[in-house]
Amino acid sequence: MANPFATETELLVLRLLRDKPAGMYGLQLVETSGGRLKRGTVYVTLGRLEEKGFVDSRTPQKTKHAGLPRPIYRLNGAGERALAAAELMGLNPAAIK
């Protein structure tokens, strides 16, 4: 059955974000995924999820270090509902667990 909500990688990101309600950096997602998410594509996935309205990002105004601020990604209500529906329908269990 085709997944109506998201790809496997997107579901994995949603699942990881649900475990951290405070939000996560992109690199934190890569590290906690255990190699299933790649550095080069994690922001493409997050960008797609943002476009779909499942994830919100917040960029702090001030940074601890010099350079550009790093955005923090957080699961929103629509993302939670989409993930719950996907889990309920048993979609992509390999990616979710």
Binding site: G26, Y43, V44, H65, G67, R70
Partner: protein, 173 residues
């Protein structure tokens, strides 16, 4: 006039500036004081340019004469010049700022913010962490990897964005 002695003192001053020796600079400036008291010190164009290249601006009269007042002003300039030269951490831009400038010009603001800026921000954060820990080679590797990792993001932002735009336009017509 003491052109020969002043030339030697200027040479000593330039050498002290190059080597970042505050004591040598002070001795050379004191020598210029003595030379200017004994006679007129001429600042040639070569000396003037050489000092200017090292960040030390020495004002002079039209005929090139250096006065006591101008020497005092020169001494005031010596301290910040040496402080900048001897600073253990010279001020420099974080890595990736050129890439960010180029891609922010090529991509839309939304695409840049969403796909490229986080990659560059991660690279900068990791680079600074590596430098703080004293891992210079790791910092270099992070910069190389960061530039390579930014490629998928901007390719996606550029081509996928264009494709979506074309499809939307096609659907609208």
């Amino acid at each position: 006039m003491l052109p020969c002695k002043a030339d030697e003192v200027f040479k000593a001053l330039l050498a002290a500036l190059d080597q970042g020796r505050p004591r040598g600079v002070k001795q050379a400036v004191a020598g210029l004081f003595r030379a200017s008291i004994a006679g007129e010190v001429i600042v040639t164009n070569e000396v003037y340019k050489a000092l200017k290249r090292r960040g030390l601006r020495v004002a002079r009269s039209k005929d090139g004469a250096l006065s006591i007042h101008l020497l005092q002003a020169a001494i005031q300039n010596v301290e910040p010049v040496l402080a900048a030269k001897n600073s253990p951490a010279p001020i420099q831009m974080p890595p990736g700022y050129r890439l960010a400038a180029i891609l922010s010009f090529l991509l839309t603001r939304k695409a840049f913010k969403r796909y490229v800026e986080p990659v560059i921000a991660d690279m900068q954060a990791e680079y600074i962490d590596a430098l703080v820990l004293g891992h210079k080679w790791r910092a270099c590797w992070i910069v190389l990897r960061g530039h390579a990792l930014a490629i998928p993001g901007w390719l996606y932002a550029f081509f996928a964005g264009k494709l979506v735009e074309l499809l939307r336009r096609g659907g609208g017509n």
